[in-house]
């Protein structure tokens, strides 16, 4: 009698969250994976096994777009890892100096781009880099580097890197904050012990602080990975669903959107869209597993 009553309120507490989460997130996720095994013939859903994936990876019309999007996505991620995270660490290291004044002000200001929507960020940079408005060429002229200016967003060779750097500009606040928090949690005694041994300044950062914040860098890397591999909004806002010029900025998110939702003359195909979503799911899953089993378990965590 008593045990059954206790069970009831646990169920009441858990039910809303579990129901919404299961119905809107988990079931559609598996449904999408399932849908990728079907196709539509004469307005009827037919099971075709792995045929969609064979088309996606094998049919030149599809596979070219897919590998292009995947390659672009890896480049997008690579730029983030190479630029965003080192800048984030540098800013955090500077901010964590206890003698630095106005540090709260800097932190707040540098975090501003992160709160802006992709639409604002995409268009703002599009305007600034636009050859029509001329802010970018004029500023380069002012420092004598005018000859360097090119319509970066409009050129196939540079547009993807430019967008990646815009995204870095937007999100650098997140690694900065997380590393900042990690640096603040390092106890003074450890740094003082290092000082007694003559380790100060830069070498204190490289030899003491950096090893201690490695777990945070790991978390940031996996967050960046997951974020980049389902990115869509910035490319869509700046370059549209066709991810121009000539698909040079196409990543998996925009490719999936065009495929399943249709765009201009292309009809939407939910089954191929599901196949791309499944591929994204597998890629993200591999990344998360590599992190959880390959990196996180091997990383030494220090208890203070």
């Amino acid at each position: 009698m008593r045990t059954s009553r206790i069970k009831w309120h646990i169920i009441v507490f858990l039910a809303p969250a579990v129901l919404v989460y299961t119905a809107i997130m988990i079931v559609p996720l598996f449904n999408t994976l399932r849908l990728s095994l079907f196709t539509e013939v004469d307005q009827e859903r037919v099971f075709v096994g792995l045929e969609n994936f064979r088309t996606l990876f094998g049919d030149p019309r599809w596979s070219e777009s897919f590998w292009n999007a995947l390659g672009n996505n890896f480049w997008f991620f690579f730029i983030h890892m190479l630029v965003q995270n080192p800048i984030g660490i540098l800013l955090a290291a500077l901010l964590s100096n206890p003698r630095l004044r106005f540090s709260a002000l800097y932190r707040t200001a540098i975090f501003v781009p992160t709160i802006l929507s992709f639409v604002i960020v995409g268009f703002a940079w599009k305007l600034i880099l636009s050859p029509i408005w001329g802010i970018a060429p004029e500023m380069l002229d002012a420092v004598g580097l005018g000859f360097l200016y090119q319509p970066w967003l409009g050129l196939e060779e540079t547009s993807l890197t430019t967008l990646a750097l815009i995204s870095v500009w937007q999100f650098v606040g997140i690694p900065m904050m997380l590393i900042y928090a990690a640096l603040l949690s390092i106890p003074d005694e450890i740094l003082e012990a290092g000082e007694c041994d003559g380790i100060t300044g830069m070498s204190a950062f490289w030899k003491i602080k950096l090893p201690l914040i490695l777990p945070s860098i790991g978390i940031i890397s996996i967050l960046t990975f997951v974020g980049n591999f389902n990115a869509f909004d910035l490319i869509y806002a700046a370059q549209g669903a066709l991810a121009g010029p000539n698909y040079a900025t196409d990543i998996l998110g925009t490719f999936m959107y065009r495929t399943f939702f249709g765009f201009q003359l292309q009809l939407g195909d939910p089954h191929m869209g599901s196949a791309i979503a499944s591929a994204m799911f597998v890629i993200i899953l591999i990344g998360v597993c590599l992190y959880l089993f390959g990196i996180q378990t091997r990383m030494r965590r220090y208890q203070f």
Partner: protein, 279 residues
């Protein structure tokens, strides 16, 4: 002592780098804002000059107010964000309480199940979500967005809140039980007020991604009467792409609400991140 001698120079360099980066971070916002108050010719002639008596103009804002239904978009965004946050916090806190408070079979498993969604983005399931919303008739309603954002926010909310609920003292809850309070009263009257700071952190974390999302409004609710501010400004700018006054004003108007929220909540947000709640 070596350190003390080198410090002034280091601090000077640190300020230099931080100021440069702050300028880089704020410059685009600044350029958009000042030019939105200028007339067309001065936008092009002197893009970096502040608006003065001669160049001041609000013609862009007039176009925005006359052509776009920004008040409606703003209202939609507000409804979606507030309702989603309400459900994330309520359902998330209830589930977190169940996981933190009661020992039952499958507790750990349930915790892991709910935590799956922290790493797997909900966008992967978009095709099936759209199909479901179409078949239930929820497509082009704000409910579709509210449900999706609630599901999206719950995993992290449960994870963070259950960490905090474990810290609430057992004595307090047991005292309540001895006084004959029901488990529901204990949760709503005793525990919820104590985890309010954690709830605020969760709210701030969820608020910005929901407000700024473009993907789900575009797919689930693109109708004119359900457009959110983010989608509405995207469409508006797409249509008025050559009317620079209108584009700049629309951008400024989209920046304004988030900036206000950020100024109000920035302390909470930064404290939330730096308290290690996301580790």
């Amino acid at each position: 002592m070596n350190k003390a001698r080198r410090n002034p120079f280091n601090l000077f360099a640190a300020h230099g780098i931080l100021i440069v980066y702050t300028v880089i971070a704020l410059f685009p916002v600044f350029v958009i804002l000042i030019n939105s108050f200028k007339e067309r010719r001065s936008i092009f002639r002197e893009p970096l000059a502040l608006p003065d008596g001669e160049s001041f103009s609000t013609v862009g804002y007039e176009t925005v107010f006359n052509q776009g239904d920004f008040f409606l978009y703003f209202q939609n965004s507000l409804i979606v964000t507030v309702a989603s946050l309400f459900f994330v916090l309520l359902f998330g806190a209830m589930a977190a309480f169940a996981l933190a408070e009661y020992k039952f079979k499958g507790n750990t498993l349930m915790g892991l199940y709910l935590a799956l969604g922290i790493m797997i983005p909900i966008r992967i399931g978009t095709v099936a979500i759209l199909e479901m919303m179409v078949s239930t008739g929820l497509v082009n309603t704000l409910w579709a967005l509210i449900l999706v954002y609630t599901a999206q926010g719950l995993p992290l909310a449960v994870f963070i809140l259950s960490e905090f609920m474990r810290q609430v003292s057992d004595d307090l809850k047991n005292a309540g039980r001895i006084d004959g309070l029901s488990e529901y009263t204990i949760f709503f009257r005793l525990v919820l007020p104590l985890v309010r700071p954690a709830m605020a952190t969760v709210a701030v974390f969820n608020m910005i991604p929901i407000w700024n999302d473009l993907w789900f409004p575009l797919i689930l609710a693109p109708a004119e009467e359900t457009k959110t501010l983010t989608l509405g400004s995207q469409v508006f700018i797409g249509q008025f792409v050559t009317d620079w006054n209108a584009v700049l004003s629309a951008l400024s108007m989209a920046i304004l609400p988030v900036m206000v929220l950020y100024v109000i909540f920035s302390r909470q947000l930064i404290r939330g991140i730096t308290s290690g709640a996301v580790k």
